[in-house]
Subunit: 227 residues, 2 copies
C-alpha cells in the first residue's frame, strides 16, 4: 500500500476515535449546563483579542472560562488571563489543531458545574481544525477584513464545519477596501443561511451584539435541555 | 498500537517519500538552470498579490512562471495569469500543503530550460507546509503587519524552514500599530540572522529591493553551479 493511502486510513481511525471522545465531552458539558463556544480562524485573524474582550465583558455577568490551543507558546493564555477569567493553555507541539482528547485532559479537575460559558480557542489554521469535533455547542469561524473576501471559497470545509461567521477587524474595512457584499456572497455560497456578524475588538463595533447573540444561543440551548 | 502513534509513523514514511522526490526535483531545476522560489504564509497574508506584482515586473526582464496551490479554487491562477507569465494551478482537495510529487505532476510537459525563475505559491497555512521540501532554492515566509508581531514565536517550525521573512502589507503599519522592533526580535529569536524584507504590493514599497534580492540570489546560485 502506498504511504498516502495508509495515511488516509490511519487518519480516518484517528477521526473516529476523536468523535467518540467528542460525544463524551458534549454529554458532560450538557450535564454541567455549560455552553461551549469554539473559535477557529487563520493565524492573526484576531481570535485572542476578541476572546479577551468577550471574557472581560461576560465575566461581569456570567461565570466564564477558556481553553486556548497553540503550537509553541503560552502567550495567549497570559493575554487572556488579564480578563480575570480562569484560562488554561494547551500546547500542541507540531499538531495543527485541537483534538477532543486534548480538551478532556485540559479539563481534568475542573468543576464545570460552576460555569455558564466555556470558550475554546483553536490553533490558528483554516484547514486542520475543520475535521475535529471538540464537543462544542457553537463553532465560530473568524475572517478578518485584511485577509480578503475569497477565504470562504478557498477554505470551504472550515466554513461548513462552523455555525457562525465573524468578520473581524471591521475598523480596517476602508483602509483595505474590503468588499462586504462579495464576502457575504462567498460565505452564503459555501454555507447558505449562515449567520454573519461584524466585529472590531479595537473599536468595539459589534461586540455588544455578539454578547447578546451568545447569551441568546445559550438561553435557547438551556431551554431545549430542560424541556 | 494507538491510532496517534500509527499516524506519526505513517507520516514519517510520507515525509521520507517526499524527500526523495524533492531531491529529484532539485536536481532537475539545477540542470535546467531555473531558480525556484516558494512562498508560504497564513491565508490572506498577501502571497498572491505579491506574486502577481513580482511576475508582472520580472516578466519584462526574465523568463518567469508560477505554480499555485489551493484547496478548492482556481482563483489565484486566474489572478496570476494577468501578469502574462505562464501559471498552473494545483488543487489539493483537503490537503493543507503542497508535496514534491504534486509539483512533479504539475510540471509534466513543461520545458524548464526556457525559464529563469519558477515561483511556487503554497497553500495558505503556517503549519503543514513546514515539513515538505519542494526542491526549491529559496523559501520565503510572509507575515502581514495585520497578523501581529508574535507569529514567529507561535509558528517557529515554518520560520525555521524558510530562508527569508517578508513583512507584508507594510502600508498598513500605522493603522494596526505594528511594532517592527518586536517582530524583528521574534524572527531573530526563532531563526538568528534571517534576512527580513518589508514590502507592500499596494504601495510598491520594498518591491524593487525584493526583485534585486531575488536576482542577486539567482546570480549567486548560478555562479556556484557553473564553478
Amino acid at each position: 500500500m502506498n504511504p498516502v493511502t495508509r495515511m488516509i486510513e490511519v487518519r480516518q481511525n484517528v477521526l473516529k476515535h476523536n468523535d467518540v471522545v467528542a460525544r463524551e465531552l458534549r454529554q458532560r458539558f450538557h450535564d454541567a449546563g455549560v455552553f461551549v463556544v469554539s473559535l477557529v480562524s487563520s493565524p492573526g485573524a484576531g481570535k485572542t483579542a476578541l476572546l479577551e474582550k468577550t471574557l472581560t465583558l461576560l465575566h461581569k455577568q456570567s461565570r466564564v472560562a477558556a481553553l486556548v490551543g497553540d503550537l509553541a507558546t503560552e502567550n495567549d493564555a497570559a493575554r487572556l488571563a488579564r480578563s480575570e477569567a480562569p484560562v488554561r493553555q494547551i500546547v500542541t507541539g507540531t499538531v495543527c489543531h485541537l483534538e477532543a482528547a486534548m480538551i478532556q485532559t485540559a479539563l481534568e479537575g475542573w468543576n464545570l458545574n460552576g460555569l455558564d460559558f466555556l470558550f475554546v480557542e483553536n490553533v490558528g489554521n483554516l484547514v486542520c481544525p475543520a475535521s475535529y469535533d471538540l464537543g462544542e455547542d457553537l463553532r465560530l469561524v473568524l475572517m478578518s477584513v485584511t485577509e480578503g473576501e475569497d477565504k470562504p471559497l478557498k477554505y470551504p470545509t472550515i466554513f461548513n464545519s462552523a455555525d457562525v461567521a465573524l468578520i473581524t477587524k471591521i475598523d480596517l474595512k476602508e483602509a483595505v477596501e474590503f468588499d462586504s457584499a462579495a464576502a457575504y456572497r462567498n460565505i452564503q455560497a459555501v454555507r447558505p443561511g449562515m449567520t454573519i456578524l461584524e466585529v472590531s475588538s479595537k473599536s468595539n463595533l459589534g461586540i455588544i451584539e455578539l454578547l447578546e447573540f451568545l447569551n441568546s444561543r445559550r438561553a435557547g440551548a438551556r431551554a431545549v435541555a430542560s424541556s
